[in-house]
């Protein structure tokens, strides 16, 4: 991902550049240490930033006849909660109807606006099986399929794990879990005992790390981090 530099920083850097040059010209032999030429050159090169294209872009034809154009320069910050996404706006909401909305939300991206509409499908997804979005489902499982699922699961819960069954039958994990519950002994054998044994083996650091992780997750759920 390319390193980006947002506009306010650039502006202040421009100020910095001018001031430094001027001062160095005014008092060459002052107490402030003068930088070696290489660094200075690099800084000049780095700080030589043109203003934001939204300011350079010549006015749109709509504003050719003296009408004001809107320069939309979204904040370079994480979106606020109180900024309702376009899709969440109810039909009656004026923001949805406004022409501004039409123009701005053309890319149908509420926050982190891009100059050009981004191709959402180009963005990499985070692989998650449990998310019903990833795998295509057939919602036409018959009674037999469910019976088969139950049989397989009870026959060999290790091989026919929930995930495998979901993949095999093309349904969601939750559906599998709704259909069939493996026996208690299997649950203990697979989940409880190994975890208990593992916990026995944990040293203080690891236990602390695990607890921290747990605590971090709770804090995350409370929105504190």
């Amino acid at each position: 991902m390319e390193a980006t530099l947002s506009r306010p920083a650039a502006r202040c850097c421009c100020l910095l550049k001018t001031t430094t040059t001027s001062t160095s010209r005014l008092l060459p032999s002052s107490q402030q240490q003068s930088r070696p030429k290489s660094t200075r050159a690099r800084h000049k090169a780095a700080l030589n930033v043109p203003p934001h294209p939204s300011f350079l872009s010549n006015p749109s034809p709509s504003s050719a006849n003296g009408a004001t154009t809107l320069i939309f320069n979204p904040p370079s910050s994480a979106p606020s909660v109180f900024q309702t996404p376009f899709k969440f706006l109810p039909k009656s909401d004026p923001r949805r109807r406004a022409a501004l909305g039409q123009k701005l939300f053309a890319s149908s991206v509420t926050t982190n606006f891009a100059t050009a509409p981004v191709d959402v499908n180009a963005l990499p997804t985070i692989f998650d099986d449990r998310s019903p979005a990833t795998t295509p489902k057939n919602h036409s499982l018959t009674k037999e399929d469910v019976e088969e699922m139950r049989r397989l699961r009870l026959a060999d819960p290790v091989k026919n794990s929930v995930l495998n069954l979901a993949r095999q039958f093309g349904c969601s994990v939750m559906f599998v879990m709704m259909c069939v519950q493996a026996g208690k002994e299997h649950r203990d054998k697979v989940h409880v005992e190994p975890h208990a044994a593992a916990r026995e083996r944990w040293g203080p650091k690891k236990r602390e790390a695990k607890e921290d992780r747990k605590r971090r997750m709770e804090m995350l759920m409370r929105g504190e981090i």
């Binding site: 390319e2 390193a3 980006t4 530099l5 947002s6 506009r7 306010p8 920083a9 650039a10 780095a46 930033v49 934001h52 294209p53 979204p74 904040p75 370079s76 910050s77 994480a78 979106p79 606020s80 926050t111 982190n112 606006f113 891009a114 100059t115 409370r222």
Partner: protein
């Protein structure tokens, strides 16, 4: 399941809805005999009535304190108090001191460096390097 609610208490912002003057009481002490109270006694008779009428939201108590220098003590809503000894002062100097007491917030004196202190989040949010459409360099 769904959403759980956390508890929070609203913060007061004095002056947003209503403004409460932070100085809630001013005590004036004088001495009938001592010469250092001369100005204070004159002030209580001459200037003080107008001042008190102009500030009905402040409670004023006037009480003698024999064989002591005259004092004006301001009590504030945050529980602190600010005493000022006004011995040998002219009535107008004492008026200045009372205005000082009235305008004080009762906090300890501290240097205010930031022009604005607010609980509201800034309109543009906190800058983050991962947002905004940056410019390629």
């Amino acid at each position: 399941m769904a959403v759980k609610a956390l508890q929070a208490v609203s913060q007061g912002r004095n002056g947003v809805g209503a403004f409460i003057l932070q100085c809630k009481r001013i005590d004036l002490h004088y001495c009938d005999w001592a010469g250092s109270s001369k100005g204070m006694n004159g002030f209580i008779k001459s200037l003080f009535p107008k001042f008190a009428a102009a500030h009905p939201q402040i409670e004023f108590t006037v009480s003698p304190r024999p064989a002591k220098h005259p004092v004006a003590i301001g009590h504030y809503i945050n529980g602190r108090s600010k005493p000022i000894c006004v011995r040998n002062m002219e009535p107008y100097e004492i008026l200045k001191k009372l205005e000082l007491l009235r305008d004080a917030s009762g906090e300890k004196l501290k240097k205010v460096t930031k022009p604005v202190r607010s609980v509201n989040e800034s309109v543009r949010g906190i800058w983050s390097p991962y947002h905004g459409n940056g410019m390629p360099l």
